[in-house]
Amino acid sequence: MLQFSLTKKVLIWGVVALGFFFAMPNGFYSRVEAVNDARVQIENGNITPELMRTASNWPSFLPSSLVNLGLDLRGGAHLLARVRVDQVYEARMDDFWPEVRDALRSERATIGTIRRVDGVVDDLRVRISEPAQIARAVELVSALARPVTSLSGAGSNDIVVTSENDIIIVKLSEAEKILTDNRTMEQSLEIIRRRVDEAGTREPTIQRQGTDRVLIQVPGIGSSEELKGIIGKTAKLTFHKVISRTSKATQRVQSRQVLYPAQGENDVYYILEKTPVINGDHLTDAQPAFDQNNRPAVSFRLNTTGARIFGQYTAENIGSPFAIVLDEEVVSAPTIQSHISGGSGIITGQFGVEETTLLSIQLRAGALPAELEYLQESTVGPDLGQDSIDAGTLACLIAFIAVLVFMSLSYGLFGMFANIALIINVALIFAILSVISGTLTLPGIAGIVLTVGMAVDANVLVFERIREELKKAKNPRRAIELGYERAFSAIIDANITTLIAAVILLVFGSGPVKGFAITLGVGIITSVFTAIWVTRLLISIWIDRKRPKILEI
């Protein structure tokens, strides 16, 4: 047990050396972080002499991966949001309507006149004047169905058509809903990312979670409200034809019309045509600006198609008002003075300068396909995070020193061996966390402290066993060998049970708890390595050199 082949020795020392090598950047945290930031900037083509100087502060042959600091340590905001994927179904049905209309119109002779009626949010309802021919109408609409092209939905169509008396009901099929949901989620993620990036925050984490959730973490931002402000609303911009103006919120509207409130004005509502003239998809640019009265406004530019539709509409409707609607609120409803042909315009509303800046970012990034609902959020101020780092570091150091002293008092030279192993152990934990880009959270620091306490356990088991074997008057070498041999099963069993707990924590836990599970789990593995290999190697070197007659432990 105490003989090590050369390969084994090289391997053990190699792992230890690698551990220190990869843990080292964490010792120069802020410097390496600045260098990493500079390198990213340079890679993005942003080359300034200052950045080059910063980037050369850390030799490129050295590793530069760092342990990520969690939000609770660095400060920042965390949001868990649900994307209302079901809202997209309605838009899909609106897009589908012209196709259905044309199909039914072509057989006007048999099924009579048709009329779209309001339905439940996610379906399309059409009433026909000849209820007897409903089967024929359903058949016509069903013919429009397209097969769904996905693995799980193979064999099904994108729509389901049913009827109820004289009404045809068109809905998305389940398979198509799943596809739509996925697309909505991808778009939402992309648009959230663009908005957050444009606001100039660094290293945001934007991830999909489950079927309809998004996790957004932005370090360094002041508060989750600020983050919500940046992500903003859906920023769905549409232009509608105005039917009339009213002061009653409960005003009944006709089919295919909507009642939207005026932004910033109480008791002013507009009845609008539900189908917009044009929508934000035609937007190519949006910038904060000021109108002729020097009030903050947002200027926008439409693409060619948008400009043509808008031009045609304004030319035909001179003198009548049209509404600029943002997220179901009428921002303004100017009267069309003349034909607007250039495809650019300006939106004046009750805005502040900050709002116009955010709004133009959101409009440029594109509208979110659906609304977000915030399910969980948290903010940690940077000072509190720094306090936690300081407190955690101090606690770690004191714990470390106390354990070192305690071990050497209890086991003398062998205690020192265990201490060396403990130092190597901590280096290995940091090395592994850096390489796997693990995140260190406050509970994670607790995990490291706990590991420091428990890491000596394996050594204690061995040392106590060696003491026992010595009592049975074995010679030192034999006692050590037996000590290791007999303590082995206890070490393995004890650590595997703890590892099981850590893995389960990793699977079921979330956020900071995950951070704790990672450090605990990594700590267990490294502590077993250092206890079984490193300490034993140290003892074997010592015993070969000194050849002691009596062992004091």
Partner: protein, 322 residues
């Protein structure tokens, strides 16, 4: 010259007072269950939904003024607690907590801003270093996954010990484990310390630690069972515990040293978490001797570890094993 916490060759009879210790454990568990149902846990927003806001100020915290300022907002159930940290006497921090407002969302910007404004109106120097908000939908899931995590951990470990030992050991270990968790929940209910997700992590660590300790003792029991085939189980257990006593005390102490340092110096944010672990180490050490081994003694074990006997499982203690 060496620091020896446990003298060599101890022969403590750990089962002498077994009636008292076992009785105490059972009593503590019953009391904990009682506390849990009648006193309840001080559940955090992780499990209930709602919002917590940490405040920090240059001026000292006036809890009743804070409360008065917030009462006008009609947020429902609001609690204001001052935060103390012995290492930072100059800290003027408090924790405001209110229940989830209507709907599924975590917290609306309006509500949080209203709370901040209300507090700033009575104290200009106030800052809000931490705001956390959990909607009811997520909190429900968190409870579910926390319970799943603990049950899965127990099941997985039960299985592992059953693989490595015999089923009686498994039962003994689980008895100790359940004892530790129940009594820890009891102390959290008694002291009304905030029970949140981090505490669940602490509980799982306790699971790991308690097992760690139990398994070391059991490992020695298994070894001695092979060695001393004729020894009375009670004496054998006693001998095994005495032999591993030095190690048990050493490891518990190093772990406790580390944890206490974290408790004192680590800041108030993780006090509850570290407290749970300190408590867990103490109770876990106790239970591996007084609960796990006692249960093992009661259940008895099969004594034909080496399969050298001719199949008739050998002693008076083996009656239970089929």
């Amino acid at each position: 010259m060496r620091l020896k916490l446990v003298p060599e060759g101890t022969k403590v009879d750990f089962f002498k007072l077994t009636k008292i210790t076992f009785g105490a454990s059972v009593f503590a568990m019953i009391l904990s269950v009682f506390l849990f149902f009648f006193n309840g846990l001080n559940l955090g927003i992780d499990f209930l939904g709602g919002t917590t806001i940490r405040t920090d100020s240059q001026q000292s915290v006036d809890v009743s003024a804070y409360r008065a300022a917030l009462d006008t907002l009609e947020l429902g159930d609001v609690t204001v607690t001052e935060i103390f940290d012995i290492t930072k006497p100059e800290l003027n921090a408090a924790q405001i907590r209110f229940e989830a407002q209507s709907g599924e969302e975590a917290a609306t910007v309006e509500v949080v801003s209203a709370v901040k404004l209300a507090l700033m109106s009575i104290d200009e120097t106030i800052t809000f270093p931490q705001v956390e908000s959990v909607g009811p939908e997520v909190s429900g899931e968190l409870v579910k996954s926390a319970i799943t995590a603990i049950l899965t951990a127990i099941a997985a470990v039960l299985f592992y010990i059953w693989l490595r030992f015999e089923w009686q050991f498994s039962v003994g270990a689980i008895a100790a484990l359940v004892h530790d968790i129940v009594v820890t929940i009891g102390i959290f209910s008694l002291l009304q310390i905030k029970f949140d997700l981090a505490i669940i992590a602490a509980l799982l660590t306790i699971v790991g630690y308690s097992l760690n300790d139990t398994v070391v003792v059991f490992d020695r029991v298994r070894e001695n069972l092979r060695k001393y085939k004729k020894m009375q189980l009670k004496d054998l257990l006693n001998m095994s515990i005495n032999e591993t006593l030095s190690r048990t005390v050493m490891t518990s102490l190093t772990t406790l040293i580390a944890l206490i340092s974290l408790f004192v110096l680590g800041g108030d944010v993780i006090h509850g978490f570290v407290f749970a672990m300190i408590w867990g180490v103490i109770i876990g050490t106790y239970s591996s001797v007084f609960v796990a081994s006692s249960v093992l003694l009661r259940l008895g074990v099969k004594r034909d570890w080496d399969k050298l006997n001719d199949g008739k499982a050998g002693t008076q203690f083996s009656g239970i094993d089929a």
